[in-house]
């Protein structure tokens, strides 16, 4: 059903827009606090040479783009979903011959002064395509075949991102499994995924023999607890024993194999640094350049996290006040306008400010879930869950990194980090959601 008289304001969810405006404003303010030096503020904004003025300009462009998207007919998104996905994959592939190496990533194509990061942009297309696929009438998500196709849709760009050294964005693509879970992916996939994650982290944290002992103890305890059920249910015993063998196997063989053969030394090092342990490899198995690179990265990443923790930790309850934070004012935290922008809030506004910011994000996520559930069309619901997953994974990884819970993975904090592509991407993601929500009574396919 086409809207005869497209009126922007009709059916728009103002709560989301309000939270969005607040977050981007806080972002511009934080960038201002982190990068403002003694220049005249008016001149700083007008010259468009300072980071905060550029971000303000991106904000303005994003608003224009958002309004433009709100004027588009919702059907266009379903119609072009597959096409845009293909275009996105082609863009991702084009990166390999045409990329410019910037700060260690190989994911950026440059046209003059304009930089494009397809892996970032592709999130929109993948989200649209996944929603489209899941909403197709012929898709039966209880079938393994369809589950595999959906997974492939998501994993293809993720793998391409890994090859472009964008581990962080690849992780973001994995978050689309949340959407699939909502749409009927068996729970045990999620449970197994989380269990494996816990097991891997435990492998890193604990002595391998001790962990094996703990796992064995757990298995024995389980057998003891369920000893009465075995008579009725033979399978349970085998399940427990199977789990035990699998866990010990992962812990003993799979994780070491992963670390020694699959991941790069600096990545292993970062992971170890996060759990607070020193990582040592046999230097003979590495080339000299690798060792040097690793040392550099080790120094840089441990320094970053240390300074970031100092910045946030020194904020206390109320913080030092806007522009009064010594850590962020005097460049102790590297990359503080982009990946470590949260430090500015943590130091300047303390626990109170940080919590309020986190609650804003949580409110946004909860609102999106709410919106998703009120959609009539599966496409819109899937799309909304996709947006929530992307934002959620970004916030988790980014803030987790600044507080030292997650390895140093360079991905932006949604709506706040300095950078045009990221802000535009998130704006478009959100604007499409608002547009679809405005037409929530339509059945889109």
């Amino acid at each position: 059903m086409r809207a005869r008289n497209p009126e922007i304001a009709r059916g728009v969810d103002w709560a989301i827009i309000a939270i969005y405006l607040m977050l981007v404003s806080i972002g511009v303010m934080s960038i201002f606090a982190a990068t403002y030096r003694d220049e005249s503020i008016l001149q700083g904004f007008l010259s468009l040479k300072t980071d905060y003025s550029k971000q303000a300009l991106f904000f303005f462009i994003s608003l224009l783009l958002g309004v433009f998207i709100l004027l588009i007919d919702s059907k266009l998104f379903t119609a072009t979903a597959n096409l845009s996905y293909i275009a996105g994959i082609i863009l991702l592939l084009l990166v390999f011959p045409f990329h410019t190496e910037v700060k260690g990533t190989r994911s950026i194509i440059r046209f003059g002064t304009f930089q494009l990061q397809p892996a970032e942009l592709c999130k929109i297309f993948v989200n649209l395509a996944l929603a489209k696929y899941l909403s197709q009438l012929e898709t039966d998500f209880s079938r393994l075949k369809d589950q595999l196709i959906a997974a492939a849709l998501v994993l293809l760009p993720a793998i391409l991102a890994i090859f472009q050294s964008e581990t962080g964005l690849a992780l973001v693509y994995f978050s689309f499994f949340l959407v699939m879970y909502r749409e009927g992916l068996p729970s045990f996939v999620l449970v197994i995924g989380i269990s494996v994650m816990v097991l891997v982290i435990a492998t890193l944290l604990l002595e391998s023999n001790m962990l094996a002992g703990i796992l064995t103890a757990m298995a024995i305890a389980a057998i003891y607890l369920f000893r009465k059920s075995f008579r009725r249910n033979r399978g349970l015993l085998f399940l427990i024993i199977g789990c035990w063998i699998l866990s010990v196997g992962i812990q003993r063989f799979a994780v070491p194999f992963l670390f020694e053969s699959v991941l790069k030394p600096y990545q292993v090092q970062r992971i170890y640094a996060t759990v607070g342990r020193d990582f040592s490899v046999d230097p003979e198995t590495m080339s000299e350049e690798d060792i040097r690179k690793m040392e550099d990265r080790k120094k840089a990443s441990t320094y970053n996290v240390k300074q970031s923790k100092i910045a946030i930790g020194s904020g206390g309850f109320l913080g030092k006040g806007l522009m009064k934070g010594t850590q962020t004012r005097y460049d102790f935290v590297p990359e503080q306008r982009t990946d470590f922008i949260f430090c500015t809030i943590g130091e300047g506004f303390g626990f109170l400010g940080s919590t309020i910011l986190l609650l804003l994000y949580l409110m946004l996520l909860m609102r999106i879930v709410q919106i998703a559930e009120r959609q009539r069309s599966t496409f819109s619901r899937c799309y909304a869950y996709g947006v929530a997953s992307v934002i959620f994974s970004h916030v988790l990884i980014n803030i987790g990194m600044t507080v030292g819970l997650v390895p140093v993975i360079g991905i932006p904090l949604p709506f706040m980090s300095y950078g045009g592509t990221a802000l535009l991407t998130f704006t478009v993601l959100l604007a499409i959601l608002v547009r679809l929500d405005a037409d929530r009574l339509m059945n889109l396919r």
Binding site: S135, L178, Y181, R182, E183, G184, Q307, K309, I310, A311, I312, G313, S314, G315, G316, F317, T326, Q327, Y330, D331, F332, G346, E347, G350, F351, S354, T355, L358, L359, Y361, L362, L365, M366, V369, A372, E373, T378, Y385, A388, F392, L396, I399, G400, V403, G404, L405
Partner: protein, 714 residues
């Protein structure tokens, strides 16, 4: 599609909620429960800079400063800020070329890095400073001017007394429990060290903000936590700089020492040790090189002989022997001894310079004529006194007496590293004579030879005791400290009166008159000053040294001790000139001039010639002089070579030859030093051994080349 899985929205919302709660808990732990991050942020961003107080000044007795704080002006460079600097203009003001500029820039970067300032040109002249100041805007911010206080010595004198200051090292840092900080200056010797706590004042602290490259960006909290520096307090000394400078002039080319004390207070009027050096050498940029040169000098200018030189006192100790005997009651002033030209009671005769009848008819005469027999005899009477029951106890008593006269013990003046001289104890003699000895074995103690040495300070103090008729105050330099309060205990012990004897004043009169006779018509007639009655005693101390591996008897040390005026003593002086012969030849005139200068404030014209005569006379053992000259020429050569190699390398023509030559020269100097070190060691060892084996040679102390470690000084 059917809403089969609608319940899963709660699971997803729960996942979101759990993750956010984890993040918030983490934030809570970081921000609310981890105060260490606040400290670390402070450490990162707050620069604690020390504001150094002015060090206290030291004044002489007339209130004129002996040392001052002056500002040295330095041109500093900040290598990372050199972009818009007018280098050509700077080069023309400093008068250096581009190559030199580059060299200094590299040196600065190597030393302190790009982001911290280093000294580009130290001690700028006033003209350069003014010129630079005028056009500084062309060189900022890569260059800036800085002023730093250093010590200067307007009189170029009193180096041994004042000592020097230097940067603290890690040992001091640890020992003082990090009271000092890296880069602090502290007194390392002399008064600077003894009165360090008074002179240094109180540091101020100013807190400043810095960025991630350690650049200062402003005051922290507008200086709320800053404390101001409190200047060090000044010292007022007893020193008479006129006398001091004259004394140093005498000892510029002699080895030895002079100490002059005001008997009524114990205040030290002058103290010089030869050879002297200019204290200005140990300030400023050349400090390190000059110090090592002074340290390697064979005449050892850094060694303060006035408090560390150990000399056999010779005849100058005879008045003490008399006082001990008087106090014990074994003699009276009228006691006489029939000396026939030698003391023969102990077998081998000890020669006396007089043979005439009655030259030792009473104490006064015996002192005036310095009769060896008389003082050997009364020494034996002291130690063999019946009531002690044996020489052992008698000697113990005698040693206690000597100690109370300040011999063989540290007097405790306000300079660090004083030596205590030497008075042997009974254990020493027991080892030496395997437990069997009598008063004949150490009879030489009566005439100041044998197992006994004293520092010039101790001898001057002995004169104070005689001048005061029985007491002394611990010799000290500082009369008072500016702003002195009850809490200042550092000076309290100098106000204590030390009573030494209980001898009636008449007995002292006899000793004093005897010493006056020494001047009026005895051995010290050269020291006579018209209009001043002086009491004195000459000394001629035999001594031995090791020269090229052989033990040789060296030229005697020339001793002279005196006080004046006798009736109302104002000054007591002890002078020793190493290897200068009779006491009256060099030490006597020096002491006399010092007394006259101090008492009359001026010298009569015919005496000025005498000053010239003494000052121009060099008295240094030929061995030492030769070594010294060789070292000097080596240094000059080395300096030339270094300069040449610097210039040649600057011109880009550094040749291997010059550096080879430098190496060769350095090596030869080193082997020289090594040889010296070895000879010193043998010196010391065989010296004491010799005295055990050859008791008949009554003075077994090489003083000329005595080596005590100078570690405490450096």
């Amino acid at each position: 599609m059917p809403l089969y899985h609608q319940s899963r929205q709660t699971v997803i919302q729960a996942i979101f909620l759990v993750v956010f709660v984890i993040l918030m808990v983490r934030l809570f732990v970081l921000q609310m429960l981890s105060p260490q991050y606040q400290m670390q942020a402070m450490d990162n961003a707050v620069y604690r800079s020390i504001v150094y107080p002015d060090r206290g000044i030291i004044f002489d007795r007339e209130g004129k400063p002996i040392l001052e704080n002056t500002l040295t002006r330095e041109l500093m460079i900040l290598p990372n800020q050199l972009k818009r600097v007018d280098t050509a203009g700077l080069l023309s003001i400093l008068g250096i070329d581009t190559a030199e500029f580059r060299q200094r820039l590299v040196a600065a970067i190597v030393k302190n890095g790009r982001y911290r300032p280093s000294v580009f040109e130290p001690s700028l002249t006033i003209e350069k400073f003014v010129k630079l100041q005028e056009s500084m805007f062309r060189f900022e911010p890569g260059f800036f001017l800085q002023e730093r206080p250093i010590r200067t010595y307007p009189y170029r004198a009193a180096a041994h007394i004042l000592g020097y200051i230097g940067e603290v090292d890690s040992t001091i840092l640890r020992r003082t429990n990090f009271f000092y900080q890296m880069g602090d200056y502290m007194g390392l010797s002399g008064l600077e060290r003894y009165y360090e706590s008074v002179l240094m004042g109180q540091r101020g602290v100013s807190y400043q903000l810095k960025d991630n490259r350690n650049r200062i960006v402003g005051a922290f909290e507008n200086g709320k936590y800053d404390t101001t520096a409190k200047a060090g307090r000044n010292l007022r000394t007893y020193l008479d700089m006129e006398v001091q400078m004259m004394a140093e002039r005498f000892f510029a080319n002699k080895l030895g020492a002079v100490v002059a004390i005001e008997p009524s207070t114990g205040g030290i009027i002058a103290m010089a040790s030869g050879p002297t050096y200019d204290p200005n050498q140990l300030t400023g940029p050349q400090r390190r090189r000059n110090f090592s040169w002074l340290l390697s000098d064979t005449a050892r200018p850094l060694f303060n002989r006035a408090i560390k030189g150990q000399y056999p006192p010779g005849s100058t100790v005879k008045p003490m022997g008399a006082l001990i005997a008087l106090d014990q009651g074994v003699i009276t002033p009228e006691y006489g001894y029939g000396c026939g030209g030698a003391y023969v009671a102990c077998g081998r005769p000890i020669r006396c310079s007089h043979a005439g009848g009655g030259h030792a008819a009473n104490l006064r005469n015996a002192l005036a004529n310095s009769c060896n027999s008389y003082f050997c005899h009364i020494y034996r009477m002291s130690v063999d006194k019946g009531e002690y029951g044996g020489v052992m106890n008698g000697y113990v008593r005698w040693q206690q007496y000597a100690n109370s006269f300040g011999m063989g013990v540290r007097l405790g003046l306000d300079l660090p590293s004083e030596d205590k001289g030497f008075i042997a104890d009974t254990g020493f003699y027991n080892r030496m004579y395997r437990g069997v000895w009598n008063s004949c074995n150490n009879v030489f103690l009566g005439i100041g030879q044998g197992e006994m040495t004293a520092t010039p300070l101790q001898m001057a103090n002995l004169m104070c005791i005689i001048a005061n008729k029985g007491y002394f105050y611990t010799p000290h330099f500082v009369e008072r400290i500016d702003g002195q309060g009850v809490e200042d205990t550092i000076q309290r012990r100098f106000k204590l009166k030390h009573e030494v004897t209980k001898i009636p004043r008449e007995a002292y009169e006899a000793v004093q008159l005897g010493m006056q006779d020494v001047v009026d018509h005895g051995t010290a007639w050269v020291a006579r000053i018209d209009g001043i009655t002086m009491a004195a005693k000459t000394g001629t101390a035999e001594n031995y040294g090791i020269i090229n591996g052989k033990r040789e008897k060296l030229q005697d040390h020339s001793w002279f001790v005196c006080f004046a005026p006798r009736e109302n003593p104002k000054i007591a002086v002890a002078v020793v000139v190493e290897n200068a012969g009779f006491g009256a030849t060099w030490a006597g005139p020096i002491a006399s001039l010092i007394v006259e200068k101090y008492l009359n404030d001026t010298l009569r014209t015919h005496r000025l010639k005498e000053v010239e005569r003494i000052a121009s006379k060099e008295i240094i053992l030929p061995v030492i002089r030769q070594k010294r000259q060789r070292l000097d020429s080596l240094r000059k050569a080395r300096l030339e070579v270094v300069e040449r190699s610097v210039t040649s390398s600057r011109n880009g023509m550094g040749d291997g030859l010059s550096s080879e030559k430098t190496a060769a020269l350095t090596e030869s100097t080193r082997s020289e030093d090594r040889a010296k070190g070895i000879s010193n060691n043998t010196d010391k060892g065989s010296g004491s051994k010799g005295s055990r084996r050859l008791p008949e040679n009554h003075s077994i102390h090489q003083v000329a080349i005595i080596r005590k470690d100078e570690g405490t000084q450096s």
